[in-house]
Each structure stands twice: as C-alpha cells, then as structure tokens.
Symmetry: C2
Subunit: 412 residues, 2 copies
C-alpha cells in the first residue's frame, strides 16, 4: 500500500527542518528570520491547498479553507512551528503539515463542508526565546499577557522590539484574539512524545486530557557531620531523608492512574565524600490528567515529606512554585476522534498527555481534542525524535476522516 | 576544684591557635612560616618541661624526657600541629599540649621513670598542602614514600622545594625513621570529633580501634526522559535507583556495630526539573573498626546496588577507589588506658575512631593506644570545635596516670 500522504507529510517535515539557525541541528526560535522563512513555506503549502493565508499580530500563520459558503464558523486545526534548541523535526510541525495535507485532500476532491477549516501554525509554543510558553495560542485565545512584551531575550531585546523587527505591531496583539462563536472546536494532531503507543503497538491514539502540573521545591535540612565519627543512630543526614522522599514520589505516582511524578533535580550540600549531607534541595514535577488527583497526590506527598523529616528530626520546607490546571479534552470531541480512529481499523486507545500543548491555551475559547501519533522510543526534544511514513499516513487519514465526519457540538 | 592543668592546656591551645596564615580563622599548613612559629613555641614549652628538643627531617617537633638513665627506650606520646583550613583549635594540638603538660608535671615532681618519654608534634597529618596525609608520622614510622617529594602544592611548589625553603633536607627524611626497639608504645590523646562521649556524659574514653575505610564510586545509568510523557512503569530513572542505594547504605550500616556508611556526594544528570534522571553518580564512604566487617559490608552493598539496578533494568558500575585497613589499639595498652580512666573515677568506655589518626602510621613500628576527650556536639574541622577546661584537665590527669603506671609490654 503506497503512503502518498505520509510521504508528502514527511517530505514537508524535512523541508521545515532544514530551516534552522544552525545548519548542524534544528533550532527555530520565535520572531527570527528562520520563523519568517518557515512561515512563508507553510503559507505556500496552504495556498496550494486552496486556503487563504495571513500572519496575525503575534506571527501565527493562519490558513482558512472556507466551507459551503464564506464566513462560517471554523473547525480549527493546528500546532506550533517553533522548536526547542537542537530539536526533533516532528514536535509541532507534524500537526501543522498533516492538517494542511488533509485540507489539500478535501480541496482536490472539491469538497466543501458545512463549516470552515482553519489551520494555525503557532509562532511560539516552546517559549525558548522569552521563557514563557504558548505565546501564539494565548494571543489567539485572548489570554496573551501584555506585560510579556517587556520580557527580554538573552541578547537583551524585548519582545516588543522583536515583534517590530519582524514587522509586527505589538499594539495589535489584542486584535489577534478570536471569538468563541467563530470556533467550533480546536483539534491538534501531535507526536505522543512518550512511549505508550509504541509499547501497545498502536500508530495513533486519542487524548483524554492534557495533564495539569505542579512543581514543588523541597529543602531538607539536617546536620552536616564527619562521615567517620558520627554513629549511624545520631546522624541527621539530609540525603537519606531525601532518598525516602524520592521513593515516596515514585511509589505514590505508581499507585495512581494517569499520574507521573519526577524528582529531576537534586543537590547535596556540602557534597563532600567524607561529610554527612547537611542539606539537600530537590524538585518534584507532578502531573495528572485530573486536577483533583494531582492536588490530592501533591498534598499527600507534602505530608509524607514532612513526616519523613519529623521522623528523622530534620527540617523540611516545601514550596509549590508552579501550578497549571489540566486541559481536559471534551467528551463530544473525543468521541468523534475515537470514531475516526476506529474507522481506520485501529483500536481506539485513550491516553493523557503529560506534556503541555497549545490546547491548554485554546481551551479558553474552544472545546479541544487531540490525536497522538506514535513516535520512536518516546524520544522528543532531541534530534532522534522520529515518526514513520506509515504512521504519518495513518495520522493524516484519521484526521481527514475526523474532519469529514465532524459534527459541531450543537449539531449532535 | 581548680583546674590548673586544664587552664594551662587550654591557654596554650589558644596561643597555638593564634598562629595562623589568616588572622580571621585558624589555618596552619605544612612547611609554612606558621609551622615554624608553632614549632618554636611548642619547643619552648617542651624545654620548660625539662625536655631536649629537636626538629626531624620532615619538620616534626620532638621533645625527649629521659628516664631513670639516658638512652632508655621511649613511650612516645603525640599528635599533630598542622590544621585543616578554617580549623578548630583542639584537633591535634590538644594531644601535643596535654602530653607536654604531663611531662611538665613529672619534671616538677622530679620524677624519672624506667623509660624515656618522647612527645612528638607531627608536622603534617591533615595533608592539606600536598593532598597526602600523615606525612609526619609516616616519616617516623619509616613508611614515607619518597615519590611524595615530587608532589606539588596549589602554587606549584614541590614538597622537596618546600622542605628546602623551610631549611630541611629532603634527602634526610629516611633518617627520621625510628626503630621499633626504641619505642615501647605510641599513645595519642585526641578529641573524639564525634558525639558519642557527650551523649554518654563521659569526659574521656579509650579507643579500641581506628576504623578502616573504603571509598566506593557508583554510577547508575538509566534513561533520561520527559517528566510528563513517560509513564511510571516504563521509566528507567537513575535517581530512584540511587535513592534505594542510599537507603541500603544507611540500613546496612545501622545494623552493624562499629560501622558507619555515608553517601556524601551525589550528582544527578541531566538535573533538570522536568527530565527523568538518566544518570546518577554517588560516593560511599564506609568505615568499620574491624576490617573483616568492612569488607563484608562493602561486598554486600555492592551486591545490593547491582541487584537494585538489575531489578530496574538499569546499569550500575561500582569502583572501590580507596581502601585503608583498620588500626586496632592493642589489648595490653588498651587495658592500661582503661585502668587510668578508672583510676580517675570515670567509667571506662571504649569506642572506635571513625576518623584517621597518626596511630595508623605509627602502628608500623609500635603498638598503639588512644585516649579520646569529649568535644562539644561532635563538631570538628570547624571553628566551633570546643573542649571544656574541665575535660582538658581530666584528659591530662588520665594521661598522667597512664604514664606513671605504664608498664612496657615485656614487663607484664
């Protein structure tokens, strides 16, 4: 079976990946000459798919394929066109390119639907340049924070300056916001960035929720001491206490469905081979598909850390430094994505997304749904990120099937 | 009850502590002008105690108080005169000053014993300057490694150059070695540097053994991954594995008498909040009074680390980077130290020394014994290191009692 659409999608992914500030690796940052070149390339594809194109005030690329008559509310598809540094080729781009390929298929059939389709290539999702994420989708959702315009990049340029240099008007960003009544739904196809589909042998899956997240900073303070002279029973070792906490995070999250917890950063002080650790700082990254679960697990872990410290007569300070609510995919949309997967002869499998996506911003003005495509070994944000032509083809077929059968909420 | 000897000892400890390369904190390093000044001061006290004094070829200060007739074999007392950086005042110095005070007491009574007494203030025990410890006592024991002469300090001076600058002849170090037949025993009084005596409410204790030590370097390699997208069951988290190992060190060593184990250094890679740790390196410092126990516990821990890694499908590499045999205090000497403690009305309590001492070198040419004096909160190698005048007095009384009643091995 040939994979014409898959080949086209992967070819375009390669073309986009060639647009990088560094020829040796893929890095495409917000409001750079590379963004401009990528935007122009994407717009040319959109135009070839019979879409009207424009850049909005934050630099998002928007292509519109009218429905049965002009001006209908739109099913919005999309993903982002920016990358992390030394990125993979599929994160973001696959969703934009696949959506365009689907519209192209409709256009080649001359098919017009009872709704418009818009494909958005968001200008910034990763937040590499200004340290704040989803600038593109926030502008569309009307939740862009104008204070961000004063943020500066590593070279000292403010976001406002960067926008102007790019040819955009910082004062126009508010006008990039869309109305809820203009959007029937937001659906994003994206690589899974995790190993679940691969493990199950499934090319695609539907997303049930984009997980919410907590970040917690913990400091455990004991008493440094001579590694030779302080008997085990008299120690106030901050690291053995921290080790208990690390294992508590693991065992609690193992026991909860759709919940992951990670201690990714841990520093030991003073950190000498022959000195009992007097202080340990570590981070907890906790994510769950359901906010209530995330809050409960976070509270349980904070209590457990306090208990470990009290038991060992140490001090523990825990501080939640970041909290992001989950973005649930709505059942009526999820049901239609499931149907499309099943129509392609694939067992519909639902999973939550542990990574953040533009849907988290778009949910402010639209119900959201997501399709995940299998990627190799769960690797993402890395040059080894990879998707097969076959899976790209299947992703496109599922998305096209979804579009063709899409029924807006009111229509059900 | 007045504490004349204790006052004198503590006064002299303060005088020595004033000799520092940094007026704000005590730092007295091998072969520096401060060593010279400290040596001269100590020799003046020795001379006031009717001792003949000399510097040997490595810079040790040696005072000799003849016995009933000249040239008798000697009971050697001593400790070290060098310090770590930003040191306490008692570590080392207390032993030298107390030994001199005891000889002074004998001299003031005109008492001559059937053996000579030598007090040695070792020039280097801490090894701060050249990164190798116990240079002074190794020279006396005849185990000084001449290759050390080529070692360079942080300023690029070799040890040979530093010796010459100090006025010593590197070629003469071999001649600093003493013969076993000239030494009846080596007995050192030292602060405990741990909290055991304080916890028990005892001013002094006898040492049963200077613990041997292993240092192990462990690297656990798993797989880094996205903290949000990799389900708990599919992770290869190097830090949760390391946490199990940290707790294994603690629980094994808690279960063994006279054994301590410490993970003092632990580095997480890549170390980002939102990335599952792919690799963790950590150190284990393991010490035990008995070499057989230390070797067994080390082997058990290495096996346990390997099992933790295998269980989690990670790789673990463990490497013993340092091994030092225990220096047991010999029973005939220990018995005499115990008797002296009891004679002062104190319950004799034996403990092992987790810290290293000059006895580890001296045991090559003499049976060794040690007396520990209580220090506040177990703090050492720190300006807060402290010993009360009362405890200094008791330490001196015990040492004096030991000296007066000392019976060489052959005499028993």
């Amino acid at each position: 079976m040939p994979h014409e659409i898959g080949e086209k999608i992967c070819g375009r992914v390669e073309e986009l990946a060639a647009i990088s500030e560094d020829p040796a690796k893929l890095t495409r940052i917000f409001l750079t000459p590379e963004q401009r070149r990528a935007s122009e390339l994407v717009m040319s594809w959109m135009q070839a798919a019979a879409m009207a194109t424009r850049l909005d005030a934050i630099g998002n690329v928007i292509g519109r394929y009218e429905g049965a008559w002009p001006g209908l509310p739109a099913l919005v598809l999309g993903s982002h066109l920016d990358t992390v540094r030394d990125a993979g080729k599929y994160d973001g781009m696959l969703g934009v390119v696949t959506a365009i390929a689907c519209v192209e298929a409709l256009a080649s059939e001359g098919m017009r639907l009872p709704f418009a389709i818009e494909v958005i290539g968001f200008a910034d999702e990763e937040g590499v340049r200004f340290g704040t994420t989803m600038l593109g989708s926030r502008a569309v959702a009307g939740t862009f924070d104008p204070d961000c315009l004063g943020r500066r990049d590593a070279d000292g340029f403010s976001m406002a300056e960067a926008l102007r240099t790019f040819g955009l008007d910082p004062g126009g960003i508010a006008a990039a916001a869309r109305r809820r009544t203009d959007i029937l739904a937001y659906v994003e196809l994206h690589i899974e960035q995790g190993p679940v589909l691969e493990t199950l042998g499934l090319p695609v899956g539907f997303v049930t929720s984009i997980s919410g997240a907590n970040r917690v900073e913990v400091t455990i303070t004991g008493e440094a001491g001579h590694a030779g002279t302080v008997p085990m029973a008299e120690r106030k070792d901050a690291l053995t206490a921290a080790a208990q906490c690390v294992l508590a995070v693991e065992s609690r999250c193992r026991a909860e469905p759709d919940c992951v917890g990670t201690v990714g950063s841990l520093q030991v002080s003073p950190g000498a081979i022959n000195v009992i650790p007097g202080q340990v700082r570590f981070s907890i990254d906790l994510r769950a598909a359901e906010d209530a679960r995330r809050r409960r697990v976070t509270a349980q872990l904070l209590a457990e850390i306090a208990a470990v410290a009290a038991d060992r007569k140490l001090r523990a300070e825990s501080r939640v430094i970041h909290e992001l609510a989950a973005a649930p995919c709505v059942p009526w949309l999820v049901a239609q994505v499931e149907r499309a997967i099943l129509a392609e002869g694939i067992a519909p499998f639902g999973l939550s997304s542990g990574a953040g996506h533009d849907g988290m911003a778009m949910m402010e003005i639209a119900d959201i749904g997501m399709i995940f495509v299998r990627c190799a070994r769960g690797i993402s944000h890395h040059p080894d990120e990879s998707v097969t032509v076959e899976d790209a083809e299947i992703g496109a077929r599922v998305l096209l099937c979804f579009i063709k059968d899409f029924e807006p909420k009111g229509a059900l």
